[in-house]
């Protein structure tokens, strides 16, 4: 009996040793990161392609040998367009899968849901979409445009073209309301006129009253922060009412190449959008990115600003890891400040507040849903999470 027990013990010790060998071997070979976007539900239209762009960057990095000698292993989770789900999935990625960083989120609601999870678990989130500012968590890298990198440059462009009477139209949630709050302050400060302001429920399809109000207010330009499918209804009904880009131009913050395709390029011809990136940007890094994405996901795939940000975020993380010589989130967060690279967006640098110093472009929609760049910021724009005019005295630590 006794020697049998020893046999068992030996076997167990052997197995234990084997399993430890195995786990340390895999720890040596790969490093886990999370990709957390809505793969189902109403936001999946926009977020699937953003997840694809992050995956493309990860595949490219792995093909070139990985990060610090380790292959990146992706744990993909579905936020399902449901904000509490984003929080649970983020918790799962950080505590069970033990990922070293997460790339994800689109709506401000999903980001706000994930923020406490990342702060509690000392994780790191790369957030690729333009947003309303007013937030700076040490655990989030906000690479999309701050208000002063999209909304305000758009206003300045409109004023420079002589459009002094402005109508603000948006979906009814935090981003359009905050962006317009900031815009109103600047419209007043610049001596321009606010013709009117109107919000339609997210997903709303009826714009008859709104167009009637626009007609009564007689603005020279509309600044549009509608999100999602409401844009399709709005542009169809705006055109039916006899408006066009020449009679009443619209400058939009949530319409990129992909949205242009689904709205129908014919409806959008001549309209404007402001972003940090357009598919048509001529820099060589972008040409390579567009070619690689279309080779993998279809040769007519549209590429948008949040996709370019998501793609670049992975490379930014890699650069920060290599600079820190560590995968540890707080070390990466420290190292990422000051990193500068040539990206599809052009030259970008990470500022101390974790956002990007990046250029701003105004594009005009043409045939095929592509935008032609017609305006550009003077050099790059430093990110300001808090607008000085609207929220005086507030700033990031």
């Amino acid at each position: 009996m006794s020697h049998k027990i020893t046999d068992h013990k030996k076997q167990i010790t052997f197995l234990l040793a084997l399993s430890m060998l195995g786990s340390s071997a895999s720890a040596q070979g790969t490093v886990k990161v999370g990709v957390l976007h809505s793969l189902t539900g109403t936001m999946s239209i926009s977020e699937i392609t953003v997840a694809n762009a992050a995956q493309l960057a990860i595949d490219q990095i792995n093909a070139a040998g990985g990060v610090m000698g380790k292959k990146i292993e992706v744990v993909k989770e579905d936020g399902a367009s449901d904000w509490p789900t984003f929080a649970t999935k983020a918790e799962k990625l950080l505590t069970q899968d033990k990922v070293v960083t997460v790339f994800g989120g689109w709506t401000s609601a999903s980001r706000k849901a994930m923020l406490p999870v990342f702060e509690k678990n000392k994780g790191l989130l790369f957030y690729p979409v333009q947003f309303e500012g007013n937030e700076c968590s040490p655990n989030i890298i906000y690479t999309g445009a701050q208000p002063n990198q999209q909304a305000l440059p758009a206003l300045e462009w409109a004023l420079s073209k002589g459009y002094k009477n402005i109508f603000l139209l948006g979906s009814d949630y935090v981003y359009p309301r905050t962006a317009n709050l900031i815009l109103k302050k600047h419209i007043a400060a610049k001596g321009a006129k606010l013709a009117g302001e109107e919000y339609v429920a997210l997903g709303g399809t009826e714009f008859s009253s709104v167009i009637n109000k626009i007609k009564a207010a007689k603005p020279q330009i509309i600044i549009n922060t509608l999100n999602g499918d409401s844009n399709v209804s709005f542009f169809k009904q705006y055109q039916a009412a006899g408006y066009s880009a020449t009679t009443l131009p619209v400058i939009s913050f949530s319409i990129a190449e992909q949205e242009a395709q689904s709205i129908g390029p014919a409806l959008l011809t001549g309209q404007y959008a402001t972003w940090n990136y357009f598919q048509s940007l001529p820099n060589p890094t972008n040409k390579k990115f567009v070619a690689a994405y279309q080779a993998k996901y279809g040769k007519n795939a549209a590429i948008t600003d949040p996709m370019a940000h998501a793609y670049m975020d992975v490379y930014l993380w890699k650069a920060a890891v290599e600079k820190a010589k560590s995968f540890e989130p707080s070390a990466v967060r420290k190292a990422i400040v000051g990193i500068s690279m040539d990206s599809p967006l052009g030259k970008i640098t990470v500022a101390a507040n974790g956002s990007l110093t990046q250029a701003v472009y105004t594009g005009q929609s043409g045939a095929g849903g592509q935008f032609k760049v017609i305006g550009q910021s003077k050099g790059v724009v430093t990110p300001q999470p808090y607008d000085a005019l609207t929220f005086p005295g507030k700033s990031c630590p």
Binding site: N212, A216, K236
Partner: protein, 301 residues
């Protein structure tokens, strides 16, 4: 509020009413006359929209002559298929029907996603519908009536008229009304109620298909568009009086003008809340709706 804005809002009311009516008529048939709570009704609208897109792909800008018959026949066949395979087996079990049709709506949405992708497809109104009637001079100077909206109003009137004629002036309609009043007696008197159920459900679906063509010119065509309309369609049916086609017409007008008034005076998002509150209050006052129908089937329910 100047007079141009006021008349503009009146036209908005009429336009919203026509959309409400188009989306609700098919539902009034299946919900009212057959007591089937069809949660997949919005998806019939969506299918109509996609068939419009296919028609536009096939014949180019002048697609409407093809889109209407294609959407009507296509969705009617789909409706008939669902009636024969699922809904027929659930008559008299309203909660099961509710659940089953909701499941069907999810399946149809996912099917649209698989076939056409999750991004919507572009449908634009034919060129002859681009433009608007504009009043020049006088107190109503620059008041405009877009052709597309006028077209949808006419479409709603034609469909409403056609349905009223069908229900009140034909033998088929007499059978429908007879079954609605007392299914057993109608059956004893020789009405083939099974066949009638199939036809009524298919007709309701077909009308939703026609509505889908109209909607495609003003709204997006994508997998989730049906969900945007289903709540308002149910509102119209309930306010109008369950089972009443003319009631649906009256309710659509009422809700359309209330919406336009509330949107004119306040903002779009506040107007939606106002409308829902008013409907709740109205149903406290008149729980059977504007024009209630006398029906034994409904009393039993």
């Amino acid at each position: 509020m100047d007079s141009v804005f006021l008349f503009g809002q009146l036209f908005t009311g009429l336009s919203v009413a026509s959309l409400l009516l188009l989306t609700a008529l098919g539902l009034a048939l299946s919900f009212g006359l057959m007591r089937v709570i069809n949660m997949a009704h919005g998806e019939f609208l969506m299918v109509g929209g996609y068939l419009t897109f296919l028609a536009a792909q096939a014949v180019g800008p002048g697609f409407l002559w093809l889109a209407f018959p294609l959407a009507f026949v296509g969705t009617a066949l789909l409706g008939a298929l669902l009636e024969a395979t699922v809904i027929r087996r659930l008559y008299g079990r309203p909660l099961d029907t509710l659940l089953a049709t909701w499941g069907i709506s999810l399946i149809l949405q996912q099917a649209a996603r698989q076939i056409f992708g999750s991004t919507g497809v572009p449908v634009t109104a034919p060129p002859w519908l681009n433009g608007a009637v504009t009043i020049h001079g006088g107190p109503l100077d620059s008041l405009t009536f877009p052709y597309v909206r006028l077209f949808v109003i006419v479409l709603a009137l034609v469909v409403l008229g056609g349905m009223w004629w069908l229900l009140n002036r034909t033998r088929f309609g007499m059978h429908v009304r007879a079954v609605n009043q007392n299914r057993e007696v109608a059956s004893i008197l020789g009405v083939n109620t099974r066949r009638l159920d199939l036809l009524v459900f298919a007709l309701g679906a077909g009308i939703a298909g026609i509505a889908g063509v109209g909607l495609a010119m003003l709204s997006p065509v994508n997998p989730t568009v049906g969900a945007a309309y289903i709540v308002n369609a149910f509102l119209v049916v309930v306010v109008g009086g369950v089972g009443s086609v003319l009631g649906a017409g009256a309710a659509a007008l009422l809700l359309g003008f209330v919406t336009a008034l509330a949107e004119g005076l306040t903002s779009s998002s506040l107007a939606q809340a106002t409308l829902l509150i008013l409907v709740v209050v109205f149903l406290q006052w008149k729980p059977r709706g504007l024009i209630p129908t006398q029906s034994r089937a409904l009393e039993e329910g």
